[in-house]
Symmetry: C2
Subunit: 393 residues, 2 copies
């Protein structure tokens, strides 16, 4: 049983935006105003719901609801798209007795398609008539696009004043390369926190989790991580307990982010790229991202081929400073390249059983300094191409 | 009939480095010392033949031969690889009565595998015994890896002093994203030029052709463009004729580069991305490269889907400065996105016949300044993934 935080309702329905026979509209409703936090895409083309959610968070940093639809991204839809997004907040506010600015909207789906307002009207009416408000899995399902499974996780944190809970929901799959931001993800909690503290926790959680994954290097126009902490338990953490809460929230974000990479479009593997020995963190990040985005590295992983030459070739163009002869590369814990040459001629057969596993660790040491970075990525499979060549048809 | 420049022999044979039943060793031999020029990969991990060719060009800028093998890249092979590469030059020099430094070697194939010196000895002996020195197509075939056709082009340029010829040979297919350098390509000419002039022409030709294509964003460790101008015609261009020669050489390079993109691993389309209205050239280039490397854009092209939302999303993360509302995007000459919104709802069906074509022009105007850049790229197909998941097995 999903252990959801107290004081929240989870509603979902089939509005029929794009998909048939499945839920595509979800609402997470707090019984009381909740500390609200958000981290948003840095893509220059920001979707209407991203702009509206940012606007609402700037107006008030307490919110009552997260509203999500799948099938239409409402991105690159101009002033019309903004009006439609505001209208969906108004419809929902009226149906649930809220103010529009207490609602944080999020959308996912095809870029550029207009939103179907009549589907919204029917959908919101159905949500309001929904008497079972205890179905977080329904909401997690309503936000999926090409995802193959819903992503929902929870944690209980015992504090001095009592136990509080976190619930996380996410969708991912494609166009995944969050950059100081994230894809669609929601975190609910019944802990009592000031909005500023909550915002800081959410932002730090995103930086250490969603911002460190990449499926295809494409940063979406709709990425956002939204958080509501409604304080329904009445439990406020003591100052000494904040690091515990931080750690639990970050772990939850990391697990959600892992699920997104695990469910990457067509993905068969999770590749964990750890770069160390870089001059600084940003050079370590550059090296990790260049390797993670190399189509040749990604297809080799799909082919279960420990083709380290492609990793080295990617490092060679990453822009980080290092001495090539000091670079070391390990796959699945076995060093394959060091001192400018292969470590052993027969490493391929030794590595074969490890390459058959679902998670492949790749460790790179640049031998230059203290900079480190870790990034999760997926492989590039025949199915990724099929899914994305056919997604709109 | 291939109209090769005079004073060159073209020899090739089956040495059996990796492939069976096909040529994999080629030699282009000038009867007299030729002005020699080279442009090389900027990858930090440079293959042994790249290092040796650079060394030889630094020693003397006149050369007698270009030596190429396919199947073993001799990259990331350390000091051993360098010794082996020098030894192949010595073997060839002895067989043909040259000095080793008059030979410019180039290799393509799998990174990290050692070179088979006994195959080299047999191969060079076979080359030397080859009496038909008039087979440039054989050399073009001997340098292929996953390429599906040989790439060879020629041009005749009538100058005041007589007619001179250019011959270009190239290989491409995968790990193609030349950066201030190029993949394997050779240009021979019988024009008489000083090495400095020839080097400048070759470098400019590369910049406007090979450096403006990308298959997968992966810059190879072995990229090089080598040029020999042997002056065998005795024709020196007058100063006023240099721009003509420049233009002809650049056009030849562009056509060769186009063939490489046309023969991209698994590629079904050539996508011509033109960015204008950027603040400067480097921002235009950043925008073009971000769009060209987006797996989502590339799979949409493969799927014949005018999914401009993916182009816009890629622009949104390219780092160039612009006002989103002033960005315009056209596909196949039809504007699809402007003023922050789609131009028309039914554009997809209008574009369908154009998306079925082999070359797809994508024009992007950022509305910010005079910066322009053009880049050729391929689509991302199911076969690209298959080829690269299976390349080593």
């Amino acid at each position: 049983m999903i252990r959801a935080p107290s004081g929240f309702s989870f509603l979902s329905t089939q509005a029929g935006f794009r998909y048939t026979g499945r839920k595509d509209l979800g609402l997470i409703l707090s019984q009381v105003p909740a500390a609200a936090a958000g981290v948003f895409t840095t893509n220059r083309f920001q979707a209407a719901p991203v702009l509206v959610s940012k606007e609402h968070l700037q107006t008030i940093n307490w919110a009552r609801a997260l509203l999500v639809n799948a099938g239409q991204a409402n991105a690159c839809t101009g002033e019309d798209g903004l009006q439609v997004c505001r209208r969906t907040c108004e419809l929902t506010a009226r149906a649930f007795g809220l103010r529009p600015e207490e609602i944080l909207p999020a959308s996912t789906g095809v870029i550029g398609q207009g939103m179907d307002l009549s589907a919204w009207e029917r959908g919101v009416t159905a949500l309001a008539g929904n008497t079972d408000g205890n179905d977080p899995l329904g909401v997690a399902r309503s936000m999926l696009t090409t995802d193959t499974f819903p992503k929902i996780l929870w944690r209980e944190v015992p504090l001095a004043g009592g136990t509080v809970r976190f619930l996380g929901l996410a969708k991912g799959s494609g166009m995944i390369c969050p950059h100081m931001a994230t894809m669609l993800a929601f975190i609910c909690s019944d802990v009592r926190l000031q909005p500023e503290t909550w915002q800081e926790m959410i932002a730090q959680g995103a930086e250490k989790s969603f911002n460190r994954i990449s499926v295809d290097g494409d940063t979406s126009t709709n990425d956002c991580l939204l958080g509501l902490a409604n304080g329904h338990t009445g439990v406020s953490p003591e100052d000494s307990e904040l690091p515990v809460l931080d750690r639990e929230l970050t772990e939850l974000c990391r697990e959600l982010a892992y699920l997104i990479v695990q469910d990457a479009e067509g993905g068969t593997k999770v590749v964990r790229i750890r770069v160390s020995g870089a001059r600084d963190t940003s050079q370590a990040e550059a090296a990790a991202r260049t390797v993670a985005h190399s189509p040749l590295v990604k297809t080799a992983m799909f082919g279960r081929d420990p083709n380290w030459g492609r990793i080295v070739a990617a490092l060679g163009r990453c822009g980080a400073e290092y001495e090539p002869s000091r670079v070391r590369v390990s796959i699945a814990g076995r060093e394959v390249f060091a001192g400018g040459t292969p470590v052993a001629a027969d490493i391929d057969s030794l590595l074969a059983p490890y390459l058959a596993r679902q998670e492949i660790p790749v460790a790179i040491c640049l031998g230059q300094g203290p900079g480190e970075y870790e990034l999760l990525t997926s492989d590039l499979s025949v199915d990724y191409v099929r899914i994305n060549a056919e997604y709109r048809s």
